[in-house]
């Protein structure tokens, strides 16, 4: 019967193709976990592509950083670590380090010194938030607003505190659906001094005060969970202003040409970098360490800034930051670290958050559903 023969033939083909795909683990592969999108793209161009060309090792990208902590816990339990290097925020690095899921690193031994010979630990300086953490970039969470929706006669917003000025700037807002940054801004804009914010936030009254401040704009706020949402809402004209990572806003303004401006003041600084999972075999570990040494040197970190407006974590990289790879504009003025952008900068206290995160997360989610 003809149909049966056709079926048998296609079956045989599928099986043959399937067998050809049943690959073993390639000896020369490395799985690197990051955030995806424009950020992964910048790493691909600045770190991965040159490294693959130089060594012949192939790098597989996994965009699982948002759930890195949970997945690493599961891998550890299952005894099957499939990741070689993971990109996380500083607070997550501290958590993973405390749980023993990330390896402690001797920064001076593993990482390359600055071109002038300054040891890595001095070159990175304060950005080394944890013994397991190899910093890459300084980014900030800051506000963008629709320039064409600024009410007539009003000055455009300049500061994070303008998000609470519901009378002056009517319209919807977008804020991150987690307590980090929102709680600090709420207290700061309610009149708490910058130095005292975390002390106040430790107390019950302080938390109540922050929630009360957030209550004033709660019914006008859309809560986002992915960095891409605020740019989308701004492009739609759905919101007047919203918080997101500064690199996203740079892309909306410079690359997409949307009518959006930035309110830099009281931007929230945070760090992002690598951790190495514990439990890698010796040959995998050797490969990762070699990659780390190359990809975090002074020139590589400066190169990344050609593709995305995040500041390199090394002091020695800052003078090397050049122009955008495609648009040819100077990147230095778009860096969160540029002194002209913000009069005031809020430095996120990752250690404080590593301790209080679980508790405040629960309270914040409960408050959201009220």
């Amino acid at each position: 019967m003809k149909l049966t023969k056709t079926l048998l033939a296609s079956t045989a083909l599928t099986v043959a193709a399937g067998m050809a795909n049943a690959d073993g683990h390639m000896a020369n592969e490395m799985t690197i976990v990051s955030w995806g999108g424009a950020y992964s793209n910048s790493q691909q161009k600045a770190y991965h592509d040159p490294y693959m060309a130089a060594t012949g090792i192939s790098i597989i990208n996994d965009e699982s950083s948002p759930e890195a902590v949970a997945k690493l816990r599961a891998m550890n339990e299952a005894g099957n670590i499939t990741w070689d290097l993971v990109d996380v925020e500083a607070a997550d690095a501290i958590r993973l380090c405390d749980e023993g899921l990330a390896m402690e690193i001797d920064h001076d031994e593993v990482l390359a010194p600055a071109p002038d010979g300054t040891p890595a630990s001095d070159d990175f300086g304060d950005t080394i938030a944890s013994d397991c953490f190899i910093p890459q970039i300084v980014f900030s969470t800051t506000f963008g607003y629709r320039t064409d929706m600024v009410p007539e006669g009003a000055e455009p917003p300049t500061s994070a505190c303008d998000v609470f000025e519901i009378e002056k700037y009517p319209g919807k807002r977008a804020l991150n659906k987690r307590p980090i940054a929102n709680m600090e801004w709420a207290l700061l804009c309610d009149g708490v001094a910058y130095e005292d914010v975390y002390d106040v936030l430790e107390t019950e009254e302080g938390q109540a005060r922050a929630f009360a401040k957030l209550d004033t704009i709660k019914d006008q706020t859309i809560w986002w969970s992915a960095g891409a949402e605020t740019p989308q809402l701004l492009a739609d004209g759905e919101i007047f202003m919203g918080s997101t990572f500064n690199g996203r806003l740079f892309s909306v303004i410079a690359e997409q040409g949307q009518p959006v401006g930035m309110a830099w003041d009281w931007q929230m600084f945070d760090l992002d970098g690598w951790i190495v999972p514990t439990g890698l075999s010796d040959d995998r570990l050797a490969r990762v360490m070699d990659y780390l040494k190359v990809s975090t040197d002074t020139q590589r970190l400066a190169d990344q800034a050609k593709y995305i407006s995040y500041g390199p974590a090394r002091a020695s990289s800052a003078p090397l930051v050049g122009q955008h790879a495609e648009l040819g504009i100077d990147m230095a003025p778009h860096m969160p670290t540029d002194p002209n952008n913000a009069e005031n900068t809020f430095v996120n206290n990752y250690e404080w958050w590593a301790d209080y995160r679980d508790d405040l997360d629960a309270k914040f989610q409960a408050w959201l559903t009220q």
Partner: protein
């Protein structure tokens, strides 16, 4: 359909308020879009009521009047907000022209039984409107995606250019991105490698299981059936977490075969269900007749049973294929970055960069799904025809 009831013109006191009510509803939509629902309702009701009265009482020629109304509202819409509004206005005009005369001439009565009361006639049409509204509700989200995928911008936004039907507002760049970007092409290649293999396994095991379970003498048939179709009932996230830990221990996590096996497990229930349904109409005396003439069980299966149940097998296979092709939860757990499938890539794309490339892919997938479902439907008809022909 022939007319059931003789019709006659209705009084002004009936059709003018009805048209005015519909006008109020249309006014609500337009008014809300313009910023004031209340004014929209009042203006819509008054305008449409007056127009209905004028069209039926002052002029007598139906066709020219209806064309005039369509044109009038099209021009009004165009003057208000450009080409798109003009088209919407023309649609409104066409609808209200038809609606007015439909009521005025009493045509709404023609195709319902003569003995129905006014209330029953009203319900007859209300029911149709409700059904239509449900269809619109189900299909709109899918339809909205399609024009957005031709957006010239990198956001999920109907730009002013798009609404003006300006060609500059449209582009194929997201389709181009899909076909040239290595991330998307890699994901497509993985999906194309995984889905057929998973389908093959599901179909082989599912068909065998269905045939076995349709034999009267198999013990614990119901219990076995329940276990085999459990992947369809257990929440996917539970299966996925379980598979993750199980496959990790036996070295299948993060491998091509692991993902194929996981998807096969998800696809088997569909094959079992469709094949079992086909077997209900299968005449077992055919297999006995084949055995009587000296055919072994394998020959009987391939020469007699398989051709008859083939439509069920193929439609089960298509469901298994779509399951594997659309599945995101299990592959996130069981796969590693090397097995990133299309849905996985769409999931991360949606989370990390809301790019209309996802919409372009979604449009392509919708078209593929429609094609596959058409095949299923054609096979079902063939199966019905065959069963009609088989001896009772």
């Amino acid at each position: 359909m022939a007319a059931l009831t003789p019709i006659s013109r209705t009084p002004v006191s009936f059709y003018v308020p009805m048209v005015a009510a519909a006008g109020a509803f249309a006014g609500l939509l337009v008014g809300t879009a313009q910023g004031s629902s209340f004014i929209g309702i009042v203006v819509g009701a008054l305008l449409m009521g007056a127009l209905a009265f004028a069209m039926t009482q002052l002029v007598t020629a139906e066709k020219p009047v209806r064309w005039a109304l369509t044109l009038l509202l099209a021009v009004a819409g165009f003057a208000m907000a450009g080409l798109a509004a003009g088209i919407i206005g023309a649609l409104f005009g066409w609808f209200f022209g038809w609606f007015t005369f439909w009521l005025f001439e009493g045509r709404y009565r023609a195709y319902v039984a003569p003995y129905l009361t006014a209330g029953q006639v009203l319900w007859h049409y209300t029911f149709r409107v409700i059904c239509g509204a449900i269809l619109v509700f189900l299909i709109t989200p899918i339809l909205v995606v399609m024009p957005l995928s031709f957006n010239a911008q990198d956001f999920f936004t109907f730009t002013p250019e798009m609404l003006r039907f300006d060609p500059a507002g449209y582009s194929l760049k997201h389709y181009e991105d899909f076909f040239t970007n290595s991330d998307w092409q890699g994901a497509l290649a993985n999906s194309v490698k995984i889905a057929p293999m998973a389908t093959l396994l599901s179909v082989s095991f599912g068909t065998l299981a269905a045939i076995g379970l349709s034999q009267q003498h198999v013990p614990f048939r119901r219990a076995i059936m329940a276990i085999l179709i459990s992947p369809m009932i257990v929440p996917l996230i539970i299966s996925a977490a379980g598979m993750y830990f199980f496959y990790s221990r036996i070295g299948l996590q993060g491998t091509y075969m692991g993902v194929v096996l996981a998807h096969a497990a998800l696809g088997i229930p569909f094959v079992i269900i469709t094949v079992t349904a086909t077997l209900v109409g299968f005449d077992n005396s055919l297999t006995r007749a084949a055995a009587n003439m000296g055919a072994g069980p394998v020959t009987t299966f391939f020469r007699v049973q398989m051709p008859l149940i083939l439509p069920g097998v193929i439609s089960g296979g298509l469901f298994a294929f779509i399951t594997s092709f659309d599945e995101v939860v299990v592959v996130l757990f069981v796969g590693s970055a090397g097995q990133k499938t299309l849905p996985w890539q769409m999931f991360t794309g949606l989370r990390e960069q809301i790019s209309p490339t996802i919409l372009a892919v979604a449009t392509i997938l919708v078209i593929i799904s429609i094609a596959l479902l058409t095949v299923v439907e054609l096979l079902r008809r063939r199966s019905e025809r065959l069963r009609g022909m088989s001896p009772a």
